[in-house]
């Protein structure tokens, strides 16, 4: 090695780095072999940083890792399957030729060897003129990603493609019409299958037929390894024909090649799909060659293909038209074409010198930016259909996007646009979200889901036709209420060679809707004006009796549709119900609809309130404004009011129910006359509160104010507040924010003369101060504007609160924490767009919670739009510091920071939640996501909100009498008989938790939850030596000198403490 490398070696960093890199490859003499390559890595990375080859260095490092993991080991595989492939090839070559015979004879002959010919629909009639024959293949070759090394290791199916070129002698000139080619092809495939049955058997394969790329016109042979563990790859045997067999002009997209009537289409209509399907058999070798040359020309081609395949797979895109019609093969072909052109003025979009990331990004940019429904031609221009994407490869005569439908193309562009935005974002690297995250889960991706278990899923041509009709009806009916309509189905599964091809796919069709939140609730749809005869007629034909002529205020007379907002069902559902019945005779039993239940559930638990703009929240808002006015105009109070800040979930529209006290924080202009002593400050505050109360009373803003006391045990935490019953019925709680407290507390913290206990108290007081007086008002302010920006944020937060409630987390997880968890779903929605329904908002929040590795990662929320990389860095540093001072996470489990609160502990410190509860939250979220995944379309939403009492050690049942009147009072200004019930129960839970903090963990829901559940700390269950510091009630144990926890005594104490609140305490038996 040269001088240079030896220098490198000296520079190369610490041994632990070397150890890590050596673990990636198990080479024996690591140091000798590794160093040069690492030197190169480093250089290239430095270069990359300088020249912008990659998004960021960390992105590149992760990508390298990913690619390393995904690149298949071809040499190993080849050696493994070579022998098998050879034997199959020999077997095929040795097959005897058959002379031409009629269809019934051919079928009979094959039936003798147990095979059913996989005729595509419609099968040939018995009396067709043409005959079936088998002749030796012109060529047998391995093609596709395996041969071209463009595959990726972990994609679900990575079959080896074996292409058999059928001899041209078998076909006649006109065989491209009326399925004749496909019939002959089916017979040919059947003959091959019959011929290699025995060989396949001995090699350990199951032999099956399947639709090639989901195309029932073109069945192919599937050789599946019999034992799943044997891990041998599946082999697909495809057919090909000579490119020149049928002239290209005959299969252009607008030619009509089906001359017989069928129920799908009329005679003379263009048969684009049919034509392209035929043409793709003729282009097998051509594309093989072109991809091969592209991969030779550009060294990062195969890596770019891996990236593309991964990206597509994560978004549910595959080659079959049912799954989008854009898979790895299409990606690869598109890349090879983009090296030749596609840009403005025919310039190539890609250059061979690009890195794989550049190729990937340029292609995504191309997909997002170039609208391909304006056709893109490589070579000569030909007439093409409109409304579908076209990339027409003139030399090979194929629209490579022929399997794409208008909806799948819209979805693809949508995804490409989102991904492009992620790649351009400088704030986060988004690597995870581009490649790692699976984003095609329908309930997370779409706002509403419709599924048709039994319709629209016939053979390819029929399904395509029917789904097109469905798409047209749905998109016309829903109009601008939706942003995207996406249809996904499944091709028919592979079937045994001994049975007939199944007529329908085993699975139905599902439709995903992305809603446009602005329009979705519109009650009246305006159609064309009455004078526009043609449009009106078409409108009427489409809508039938639902359309009615109406006169509007501006004098116009329009065809219109009126939907009901009073109905139990949403407007979207009303439209679907009507239009599906009208156009497809599909009744409500025949389709399932998912998405509205979440709104219903929220209404049920949230006092029938959905939007932040509902009167209940607005009246609290108005009351606050009024209070602010009164406070500002007080003249008896000696200090000027600087600011009255809202500091309550009621004033940021996130309270599940609009009841309870509304906290506000008052700040005076600073004055030097405040005392420096904590107790004196509290007394001064009381004096001010009394004064404010008098003043408000005398000005008539409130009838009777009273000063309330809190935090009795400490003199350094806020001790008093003013309760103001506003004339509108809203109850305010006003606290005085005195900013010098912070300075004093900070000084106490540093004061070495104070005892550790006092310093601890100061730390807690500082925490409480920041929470009450700084962060709550800030969060409230931020959320008030966010809620108006994202109308669905408020309902989503409220539903999520209900979720936490129903799992009894109220005492453990603060409201604000939940709010932050949800906000991130809205302000950092990647890899999706901002949620446009409660369902997606809620489920994505659970999803992000389930994915959050809270022990290792901070949760960072963008609240004010100021989350710069520096801020993020700062937050991460703080997080690392917290984990190193409290590695056991005794005080802090969740770390949740935002750009307006970089400290990250405001809502979670002091065991809010403790790590056990944190772990439970996380596992509940995971369980929810897995439930969602296992039954997307038939999940009962309430299952997510059901909690089991089984895991708890004891259950405290509260007296049912306490809840009898718990439904919201009709009139706010009439005091509820037991208004403080929730408060009482909370105080009780607090008391018990405080008394038994070492031995019990309590769980409780909100004020409609009639149980409190508890767990014994498992560490206390063992008997242990007597110790002065044992902080729970004990009894002498069996062994002398040992004590055990005295559970009966503790439960007795709890029962007596809760006398009058508790019905009984149920102790769960040990299993």
């Amino acid at each position: 090695m040269s001088d240079h490398t030896s220098k490198r070696r000296k520079l190369s960093p610490s041994p632990e780095n070397a150890a890590i890199s050596s673990s990636t490859k198990q080479t024996s003499n690591v140091t000798e072999k590794r160093n040069p390559t690492r030197g190169k890595d480093e250089r290239s990375a430095e270069l990359a940083m300088a020249s912008g080859f990659y998004k960021s260095s960390f992105f590149k490092l992760q990508m390298d890792e990913l690619l390393e993991g995904l690149r298949p080991n071809y040499s190993k595989q080849v050696s493994k399957v070579q022998e098998t492939l050879h034997q199959i090839k020999t077997a095929i070559e040795g097959l005897p030729e058959t002379s031409p015979q009629s269809v019934p004879d051919a079928e009979k002959e094959l039936r003798a060897s147990g095979l059913v010919v996989p005729w595509p629909e419609p099968r040939p009639s018995k009396d067709v003129k043409y005959s079936m024959a088998y002749a030796k293949p012109a060529n047998i070759n391995v093609v596709g990603s395996f041969a071209l090394k463009t595959g990726a290791r972990t994609l679900e199916s990575r079959p080896i493609d074996l292409a058999i070129t059928m001899p041209s002698s078998l076909f006649q000139e006109k065989d491209y019409v009326n399925f004749r080619y496909f019939h002959k092809r089916a017979y040919y495939i059947a003959c091959v299958a019959a011929g290699i049955q025995d060989t396949a058997n001995t090699l350990g394969f199951d032999i099956k037929f399947g639709p090639q790329d989901g195309d029932s016109l073109r069945p192919h042979i599937l050789l599946e390894p019999r034992q799943a563990e044997s891990s041998g790859p599946t082999i697909r045997i495809l057919t090909a024909i000579d490119p020149m067999l049928f002239p290209v002009t005959r299969t252009l997209p607008l030619k009509s090649n089906i001359r017989q009537a069928s129920n799908n289409s009329e005679i003379g209509e263009p048969t684009s799909y049919y034509n392209a399907s035929l043409r793709s058999d003729a282009t097998v070798s051509l594309y093989h060659k072109s991809i091969y040359s592209a991969s030779k020309k550009c060294s990062s081609f195969s890596d770019a293909c891996i990236l593309g395949r991964t990206w597509l797979q994560q978004r549910g895109f595959h080659t079959p038209f049912q799954n989008g019609g854009f898979g790895g093969f299409e990606w690869t072909v598109l890349l090879s074409l983009l090296f030749e052109g596609g840009g403005p003025a025919g310039q190539p979009v890609l250059l061979p010198s690009y890195s794989c990331y550049q190729i990937f990004k340029a292609t995504i940019q191309f997909l997002a930016g170039r609208d391909l429904t304006t056709p893109l031609f490589f070579g000569q221009e030909v007439p093409v259909p409109s409304g579908v994407p076209v990339v027409f490869d003139g030399r090979r005569g194929l629209n490579i996007l022929y399997k794409m439908t208008p909806w799948s193309y819209a979805t693809l562009r949508h995804e490409a646009a989102v991904t492009l935005k992620m790649l351009n974002e400088s704030r986060e690297d988004n690597f995870d979200k581009v490649f790692i995250l699976k984003v095609d889960e329908p309930a997370l991706r779409f706002d509403r889901l419709i599924s048709f278990p039994k319709s629209f899923n016939g053979d390819t041509l029929r399904a395509l036709h029917e789904q097109n009709a469905l798409y047209n009806v749905l998109s016309r009916a829903l109009g601008d209420r939706v942003k995207l309509v996406s249809i996904v189905s499944r091709a028919v599964d592979s079937w045994s060679v001994k049975s007939k091809q199944p007529k329908r796919s085993s699975q139905g069709v599902s439709v995903g809707l992305l809603l446009n939140a602005e329009n979705v609730g519109r009650i009246v749809d305006h159609g064309p004006a009455a004078e526009e005869k043609e449009e009106s007629a078409s409108f009427q034909a489409f809508w039938g009796e639902k359309s009615e002529l109406r006169r509007f205020k501006d004098g116009s007379i329009l065809e219109s549709l009126v939907w009901s907002d009073e109905s139990d069902t949403s407007i979207i559902y009303q439209i679907l119900e009507y239009i599906l019945q009208r156009h497809f005779k599909i009744t409500t039993d025949e389709f399932a609809f998912v998405g509205d239940e979440y709104d219903e559930l929220l209404k049920k638990h949230g006092d029938d309130i959905l939007a932040y703009s509902s009167p209940a929240f607005q009246s609290i808002d108005d009351a606050f404004k009024d209070l602010e006015r009164s406070i500002r105009s007080m003249d008896e109070v000696p200090l000027e009011v600087r600011h009255l800040a809202p500091a309550s979930s009621l004033l940021r529209y996130t309270s599940l129910r609009p009841t309870g006290a509304t906290d506000v924080v008052l700040q005076f202009e600073s004055s030097s006359r405040w005392p420096d002593d904590f107790a004196a400050i509290q007394m001064t505050k009381v004096a001010f509160l009394l004064k404010i109360g008098d003043s408000l009373k005398s000005s008539g803003a409130a009838s009777s104010c009273r000063v309330g006391l809190e935090n009795e045990s400490s003199k350094v935490i806020n001790n008093a507040y003013l309760e103001i019953p506003h004339s509108s019925g809203v109850l305010f709680r006003l606290r005085i924010h005195h900013e010098r407290e912070q300075t004093l507390l900070e000084r106490n913290l540093k004061d070495r003369n104070l005892s550790p206990r006092e310093r601890e108290e100061a730390a807690y007081a500082l925490f409480a101060y920041k929470k009450t007086f700084v962060q709550t008002p800030r969060l409230t302010q931020a959320l008030r504007s966010l809620c108006t920006r994202f109308p669905l944020l408020s309902p989503t937060i409220r539903l999520t609160k209900q979720w936490f409630n129903s799992h009894l987390f109220t005492a453990q997880i603060s409201d604000e924490l939940i709010e932050l968890l949800v906000i991130r779903t809205f302000t950092q929605p990647n890899p999706w767009e901002c949620p446009s329904s409660v369902m997606t908002g809620f489920l994505r929040t659970l999803h992000s919670l389930s994915r959050w590795d809270w022990q290792q990662e901070p949760f960072i929320v963008d609240l004010g739009g100021d989350l710069t990389p520096q801020v993020t860095e700062n937050i991460r540093t703080r997080f690392t510091a917290w984990r190193s001072i409290d590695p056991a996470m005794n005080s802090l489990a969740f770390f949740v920071a935002s750009d307006i609160d970089t400290e990250g502990v405001t809502w979670t410190q002091y065991e809010m939640p403790s790590k056990v509860v944190a772990a439970r939250t996380s596992s509940l979220a995971k369980a929810a996501v897995s439930l969602l995944r296992s039954k997307t379309h038939d999940m009962d939403v309430s299952e997510l909100f059901d909690t089991s009492l089984a895991p708890y050690d004891f259950v405290i049942h509260l007296r049912p009498k306490l809840f009898s009147g718990s439904s919201a009072p009709k009139f706010k200004n009439l005091a509820e008989p037991r208004a403080g019930m929730m408060q009482t129960i909370k105080s009780f839970v607090c008391d018990v938790q405080a008394c038994y903090s070492q031995s019990i963990l309590l769980f409780h829901g909100d004020d409609r939850c009639a149980v409190i559940t508890g767990l014994w700390n498992p560490q206390t269950l063992k008997s242990r030596p007597w110790n002065l510091k044992t902080a729970y009630s004990t009894a002498p144990g069996d062994t002398n000198g040992e004590v055990v926890i005295n559970q009966t005594a503790i439960l007795n104490e709890i029962a007596r403490l809760g006398n009058g609140l508790i019905e009984n305490i149920e102790v769960r038996a040990e299993e």
């Binding site: 890590i20 772990a919 007795n1052």
Partner: protein
């Protein structure tokens, strides 16, 4: 029953029958541990005190008086110190209280310290009519005299040996102590909002005393300063001392202003921008190294970065898998295994690893 283990680690064990309640109808025995009080730094009271461990959470002074005075019929209790209350302050306060009221009448000169002690006792009204003890807490019971203490201990020991049933708080007049349960919370809700007049009185009294303290303090300071020190110098101090926090804040502002001023001239010289550029480059390199380390960490934690095999589940796969989540539970509240078993039903076979998308 457990009469043989009357002693645990030198403590006498006294079983107490807790009052039965229909809400939890099982007989419950509580165990109180007691021994003579032997603090590290003995005070005059400690010889006549008993040290109690594991008092019931509803213990009040009346309970303990009743227990030793009536139920055990042994010693007279003078007072009780509970764990939560800071003993020093309390003791000091009680000794000086009389002193203060006394001196107020007699002498004009009261020291600032005296005032301050008095100040400590002016509190906002309590918001609970009955406080709770933490489970397992201790208390010091100070008896009237040493023999009282000794007979009490003996009586407890005897009761324990004989298995005498003592019902906790039994026979204690109900009007002496506020009830537990709902009533206590109702009272709490009432007491949270004390009478306006009472509050005003407290505040006034406090603030008056507070002013007295600061005046006395000032006077004393002044006096002290006016006295020449051992070198014969008299320290001269100016005007009223602003409260220190305000000064701190002023200083902070000043420093910040200066900082801002200094920033103004940053790109003035060529070498400054050159250095800046260099710094940025170094930073980039450093960041790159950090990134590498970060990746290595992630790999160590989660295994290789890869997309998962299975149909719908793709994520960063944990290398060490599930154990990773269980292993952290080395401390309090270690019930992970329980959660796992609870959710195993729902999660089914997939458990932790492949749950991610």
């Amino acid at each position: 029953m457990k009469s043989e283990s009357v002693q645990v680690e030198g403590y006498t064990t006294l079983p107490l029958q807790l009052p039965t309640t229909p809400l939890f109808p099982y007989p419950a025995t509580h165990y109180l541990y007691l021994r003579p009080h032997e603090p590290r730094i003995p005070d005059p009271d400690s010889t006549r005190s008993l040290f109690l461990v594991n008092v019931p959470i509803d213990t009040t002074e009346a309970h303990l008086r009743h227990l030793f005075g009536t139920q055990l019929a042994a010693g007279r209790v003078e007072r009780v110190q509970f764990e939560d209350v800071q003993t020093k302050k309390r003791a000091a306060a009680t000794t000086t209280e009389t002193n203060l009221t006394h001196s107020k009448k007699k002498r004009k000169r009261v020291t600032a310290d005296d005032y301050e002690r008095y100040l400590d006792d002016i509190n906002l009204p309590s918001i609970w009519d009955r406080k709770l003890q933490k489970s397992g807490a201790h208390a010091v019971v100070i008896f009237a005299d040493k023999p009282s203490m000794e007979t009490s201990l003996k009586a407890a020991s005897k009761a324990s040996k004989r298995g005498t049933t003592i019902i906790w708080g039994d026979g204690l007049p109900t009007d002496r102590i506020p009830a537990l349960g709902l009533n206590r919370y109702v009272a709490h809700e009432r007491m949270q909002y004390p009478d306006r007049g009472a509050l005003l009185r407290t505040v006034n009294e406090f603030m008056t005393t507070f002013t007295q303290v600061s005046e006395a303090r000032k006077r004393e300071d002044h006096k002290r300063l006016a006295v020449p020190d051992e070198d014969g110098f008299v320290t001269v101090s100016h005007g009223p001392k602003l409260n220190s926090v305000a000064r701190e804040e002023e200083m902070r502002e000043l420093v910040e202003k200066q900082k801002k001023k200094a920033e103004g001239l940053e790109d003035f010289y060529r070498f400054q921008s050159r250095e800046k550029r260099k710094e940025r480059q170094n930073q980039l390199l450093r960041r790159f190294d950090e990134d590498k380390k970060k990746l290595a960490e992630i790999k160590a934690r989660k295994g290789k970065i890869r997309v998962s095999f299975s149909l719908s589940l793709v994520r960063l796969v944990f290398g060490s898998g599930a154990d990773f989540l269980y292993s952290l539970n080395d401390l309090v509240h270690d019930s992970m295994a329980f959660w796992v078993s609870f959710f195993a039903g729902r999660i089914k076979g997939s458990r932790w690893c492949p749950m991610y998308m």
